[in-house]
Each structure stands twice: as C-alpha cells, then as structure tokens.
C-alpha cells in the first residue's frame, strides 16, 4: 500500500514538473520588471528586447545612449546570426512571442500576418519616404529605417600605386587592372563566394550598371516584384557579361569554398587587391591592417559612367504587435527617431546616410572614390522592390554558385529564380 502511495506521489510530482515546464511563465517573455535601487530611490526598469543580425559592436553606441537617456528602460540586445535570423524571429512571432523591437523581416507577408504594429501616426512624418517606402504597406508604416547601407569595391591604394594602376571606370578597364595584378602575383579580388548572398550581390552590381539602373530596368524591376516580368527575359545578357569574371580568372571555382572572413584575410594581408563590401567591414579592416590605405570605387558595368552602389535603406526597426511593453518600446523608438539616436546608430555604421529628416552625416574619406556614384544617386538594392519574391534572391545567389561550378548555364539560373519568384508570389496572392 505504501508503495502505491509512493508511486502516486512521485507521478504527481513528475507531472507537475512537466506541466510547469510547458507552461508560459509571466516573466520569461518580453516583459520583465526588475527593481533597481540606486541608493535610496527605487526605479522600476522595464526590459525591452531588441533583436538584430549584426553583432552588438555594431550598435554599442546606440545601446549606451538608451542606457544613459532611458533610466527606466533596460534594452536587452539579442544578436541572432544573419543565416538563421529570419527563421528564428518568424518562428517566435508565429508562436505569438518574439522580441519587442525587431530589426528587419518587415515584408508584405509578415505585415499581413499582423506581426507588426502600425507606426504611421507617430513616425511617418519624421522620415523621408525614400527610406520608408520598403516598410510601408497599404499606406501604413511598419518600420523605422536606419542609416543606409551600400557596397562597392574596396581597393588597396598602396598596391594600385605600386603597380601604377588607375581606378577602372568600365568592366574592360577592370579586367586590364586584374591582368596586371595577376602578372605580379596578386589576386585581383578576394570574394567569399561560399555565401550565396555575396555571389548574388556581385552580380547585382553589374546588373545595376547594365540594365536595372536604366529607366527601362527600373520599370522591369518593379514589374518583377509584381510577377508581371521575368528575370530570364531581362537579365540574361548581364549574367552572360558577369561570366567574364570567370573567363578572366578573376573569380575562380576555388572561391566557392571561401568564407567572407577568409576573403577579408586575403585582402587585409595584401594577397588580394580588391574586395566588394560595405562600411560594416571597415572596423575589421582597420583592426587587421591598421596601416593599409583603403578607398572604394563603385560597382562597374560595360558602358562606363559614374557606376552603381548596391544598397538602400538599412535595417528597419519594427514594433512587435504582441509586445507586452509597448510603452517602453515606444520610448526606445522615440529616442531612435531623434538626431541624437541617429548619430549614435551611425557612430558604429559610418558610411551611410540617415533617413530621419534634418539629419546629415559626413562621409568618411575612405569612400572618396565612390562620390560620383553617390552624387548621381546611383544607390539601389533591387531586391527591395521584389516584395514577397525577395526570398528568390537566395536562389539567384545559389544559381550563380552553380554557374561558377559549371553545373548550370545563365539561362537555367535565371529560369530557376523566375520559378521560385512565381511560387512565392502565388502563395502570397492566394
């Protein structure tokens, strides 16, 4: 009899532990209140979770500003690697949870699913439309765009001087520069083609120059996002031209096994003369090669001109519609939407420009070579106009990897992207 009771008690205890584990704790979600007692005053701090795919270093000044200016708010930064960021956040949002302030993933689908708070009334008039257009759906604003990003081609100034090389203005000139560098045992351009995103952006740089950046190309780009135009019809000539990088031996098959970090090592050690990237790597360059002189020229095309930078509005921060600490989260977003907030964000992301009205930043000297493209307004990230078909960009990058590996033709690569875009658009329209 005793045994039966013992077993019963153990079972009940086990079950209670099990269900306690499954239950939702009132303190383990986004809102936690903690009492902080500085000397004699009691300040109740509200925890606001902010997620983003860049490491904490890229927002450290901003986080310090929140700490200094918002004594009643404790902003907890959650870094989630870019490779899994969307999956992690979307899974949390689907479960009715997730961080309070979310960087990125604001698109037609996530807005339609009701994941984000409408920010129109409070912030729309404060930001330029050029920045908010990508996070505005049905005339409602769902995110606050931060300093713009761009990528061009960084080059080692000393190596260019040593071999008497001029900054190329066209793709042909670029290949002439590459030939000289190769003859001297220098890799022309380091690139981590293992990452499909890097492979895709390399092609976008050329495609912007040769087609997407033209009036006809811009129209095509918008139509592609609506599903009324195909990539294979418009971008095949540009992708054929891009294969010149392979024919000239600038990009090689072995680069498909190279991580971006390893490509950076090649660039900063002087083994490679050029590297396509943006301001987010400037600190890394300076840490690894403090004495290296760096400048940047824009992405090139076949016809010349000022060139194009691949880029657009930076991360947009949205407010989780299910957040339990909206008041505190609004305080954070309010501070972010001030010149002080913008400057704090920019301090660790120098190079871009702010979309908050009345805020301007000075461009660092490292981007002098790209000024002409900036002045011409040649900064564009075509994927921003693809809407829900934007996820097909990964397929473009993977297709370009297959092109380099020799397992697909440009036509097959673009056809596969069209197929994926159609699938994504059909899902969204049903």
């Amino acid at each position: 009899m005793k045994k039966t009771w013992l077993v019963t008690v153990i079972s009940i205890l086990t079950l209670s532990i099990l269900f306690t584990g499954c239950g939702k704790s009132s303190t383990d979600n986004s809102s936690t209140m903690e009492n902080v007692t500085p000397k004699d005053k009691t300040v109740t701090k509200v925890k606001v979770r902010l997620s983003y795919w860049n490491k904490e270093d890229s927002v450290k000044t901003l986080l310090q500003l929140f700490k200094d200016k918002l004594p009643d708010v404790d902003v907890e930064y959650q870094f989630i690697d870019n490779k899994t960021y969307a999956d992690v956040i979307k899974t949390q949002l689907a479960a009715g949870e997730g961080p309070d302030i979310i960087g990125g993933i604001i698109d037609a689908n996530t807005v339609k699913a009701g994941y984000f708070e409408d920010l129109t009334e409070r912030y729309a008039s404060k930001y330029y439309e050029t920045g908010t257009s990508t996070v505005t759906f049905d005339h409602k604003l769902y995110g606050l765009p931060q300093a713009s990003w761009f990528n061009g081609v960084y080059y080692n100034v000393d190596l260019f001087t040593k071999y008497n090389l001029k900054i190329p203005k066209t793709l042909d000139e670029y290949f002439q520069v590459a030939d000289v560098l190769k003859k001297n045992g220098i890799k022309p351009q380091a690139i981590g083609l293992k990452n499909p995103n890097v492979a895709g952006q390399s092609f976008l740089g050329l495609a912007l120059n040769d087609y997407i950046g033209t009036a006809e190309g811009k129209k095509w780009n918008e139509d592609f996002g609506k599903g009324t135009a195909k990539m294979v019809d418009a971008l095949e000539p540009a992708l054929m031209t891009w294969t010149e990088y392979l024919k000239h031996g600038v990009f090689t098959k072995d680069m498909l096994g190279l991580e971006e970090e390893q490509a950076i090592d090649e660039f900063t050690s002087g083994k490679a003369a050029m590297f396509q990237a943006g301001p987010w790597y400037m600190d890394t360059f300076k840490q690894k090669a403090p004495n290296m002189k760096i400048d940047m020229f824009p992405n090139l095309g076949t016809k010349g001109g000022p060139g194009w930078m691949v880029g657009g509005p930076g991360v947009s921060f949205g407010l989780n519609a299910k957040s339990e600490v909206k008041d505190a989260a609004y305080k954070v977003l309010d501070l972010l939407s001030t010149p002080e907030g913008q400057n704090a964000y920019w301090a660790d992301n120098k190079g871009g420009s702010s979309f908050l009205k009345g805020v301007t930043f000075e461009m660092p000297a490292e981007y002098n070579g790209a000024q002409e493209a900036f002045k011409a307004g040649n900064v564009m990230y075509p994927v921003n106009n693809w809407g829900v078909a934007g996820a097909a960009f990964t397929d473009l990058g993977k297709g370009i990897q297959e092109l380099i590996a020799g397992t697909k033709t440009p036509h097959q690569v673009l056809e596969a992207v069209d197929k994926k875009a159609t699938e994504l658009l059909e899902k969204s329209s049903k």
Partner: protein, 295 residues
C-alpha cells in the same frame, strides 16, 4: 493471483510509465500527428490561421522538384558513408586501445575529445582546415607536397564527401567508446583457448571479437544511420547546403522551405516523407543485422 491484486501490481508500473508516456506524446506523437494533418493543408506564413484542405498537393509537388530528390540522395549518401566510416575506423581503434598500453587512457581521451565539442565549433574549425586560401591548413600541406590545391568545400563533387570526413573525424571517438565498453565484457577465456589452438590475431578478431561485438555494432550502426538521416548542423556549418544545392539534405531543405520561405504545410509534407523514409531504412537495417546475428 486474483484480479484485484494483479491490478494493484500493474497499476504501479503503469503509473511509473505515465510521465515518460506523457512526455513522449507531448513532444513526439502529438506534433507528428499535427504535422501529418498540416501536410494536407495550405498552411503558410500568409495563411497562418485560416487553412484549407488541399489533399495530396504538397506531396505531389514534393516529388516533382529535383532539388528535393537531390536532398534525399545526399542524405542517404551521407548517412551510409558516415555510418560506415565511423564504424570501420572505430572497431580497430577500440581493439587497439583495449590493449595494455601505457598511454591508453590519454589516447582514448584524445580520440573522444572531438565528440565533446559542438558540431558548429567543429564546422568552424574544419572550415579553416579546408580553406582554399593560403591560410588553409590542409591545402598548405598539399601544396608543400607539390600537389594542386583541393577545393574541398567549393567543388560540388567533393563538398559532400568533405563534410562526411569532418563528421567521421568528430564521431569516431564516440563510437569507439561504445565498442570499448563491449570489448571489456568479452571474456579473455575465448582468446586464451584460441591461442592454445594457435589461432592468428586476424582469426581471433574475425571469429571471436567481431561476433561478440554484435550488440555494439547493432547499436552504433542503427544510431549512426538514424543520426545520419537527420544531418543538418555539420552541413550548415561547413557548406550551408552549397555550392548551389549540391550538399542540401532533407532537414536543411525542410528548414529552408518550411520555415525560411514560409511554406509550412510543404515542410510538413517533407517531414512526414522523412519520418517514413527513416522508418523504412531503419527496418531494413535492423532486419539485415538480425540476419547476420542468426548466421
């Protein structure tokens, strides 16, 4: 024993099993049933609440796309080769480290050590070892020996096998420990008798060690196969499924389609196909092992 007494005795066991059964139902049976249910709907990130029944559409679409067949093929190649590699290396290693060596504990620890680390850490490490750049350790050796660089992770024909080598390196020590435990339970009498009969070392291994290692072989090969079928992390860390789609596996594609692209029901259908596939392969595998046991 009369019926009430039998019930009293049985209820003890039932109550003891209940928590485990509840955990099993909560975390496996119910999610699997729900996954099966969702696989017949149009559930997606666009339709998170109102879902419609679409019959077998998701399953039909699955077998129409070559990328999913590539994923299934890669998974099978990975599972079979990684399982074979681990076991073929682990058995002689365990036999060797079961001998009276002064350094045997140190060597056992050294071989087991990689299994302690996270797969992502191992992936990061091998990424640098495999790198085609001048900083890649293996390629430095290859070039120093006068050969051409090997594009371990960037060549679609090599990439999957490079991943398998890294995985075998990590898990061979773990597999070895299980064989060691089994070896220590084999009585030395058999070997002494064999020595009297003048059996060679190879004959002792073939006719004594190997048959008596069967319990460990069964466990290691079945678990190796199942873990191989579930592979995701090492592929993710080393190649991300690339170049192109050349190293995508069932789980990586399930994650890509089911989560990243928001086709939840499609991912669910792939999940169900995966469960069935693992079930069939495990059944065949265990049947073969049983046939061997009977011989």
């Amino acid at each position: 024993m009369n019926k009430p007494n039998m019930f009293k005795r049985e209820i003890n066991y039932v109550l003891l099993l209940l928590p485990a059964l509840l955990i099993y139902c909560t975390f496996f049976i119910i999610p699997t049933l729900k996954t099966a249910l969702y696989s017949f709907t149009n559930w997606s990130d666009v339709h998170p609440v109102v879902v419609k029944f679409v019959g077998l559409d998701n399953y039909i679409a699955l077998f129409k796309e070559s990328i999913y067949l590539t994923g299934i093929r890669n998974t099978l190649i990975y599972a079979v080769l990684a399982m074979l590699g681990q076991n073929i290396l682990a058995i002689p290693l365990a036999v060797f480290l079961n001998k009276k060596l002064k350094t045997k504990n140190l060597l056992r620890a050294a071989f087991f050590l990689p299994a302690v680390f996270s797969v992502l850490v191992i992936g990061y490490l091998w990424n640098f070892m495999y790198s085609p750049s001048d900083f890649g350790l293996i390629n430095q050796l290859v070039v120093a020996l006068g050969f051409e660089r090997i594009n371990f992770l960037g060549d679609p024909h090599f990439a999957l096998y490079s991943v398998i080598i890294a995985s075998v390196w990590q898990w061979v020590g773990y597999t070895m420990v299980i064989y060691l435990a089994n070896l220590q339970s084999i009585s030395t009498d058999y070997y002494e008798a064999a020595k009297i009969d003048r059996a060679s070392g190879m004959q002792m291994f073939r006719y004594i060690t190997l048959p008596l290692l069967l319990p460990a072989i069964t466990f290691n090969t079945v678990m190796g196969m199942i873990n191989g079928m579930k592979v995701f992390d090492i592929v993710y860390a080393l190649t991300g499924g690339g170049p192109g789609y050349s190293t995508e596996t069932i789980v990586s594609l399930m994650l890509k389609k089911g989560l990243s692209e928001g086709f939840y029901s499609y991912g669910a259908a792939f999940g169900i196909v995966f469960v069935i596939l693992v079930g069939i392969i495990t059944f065949i595998h265990i049947s073969l092992i049983k046939m061997w046991e009977r011989r």
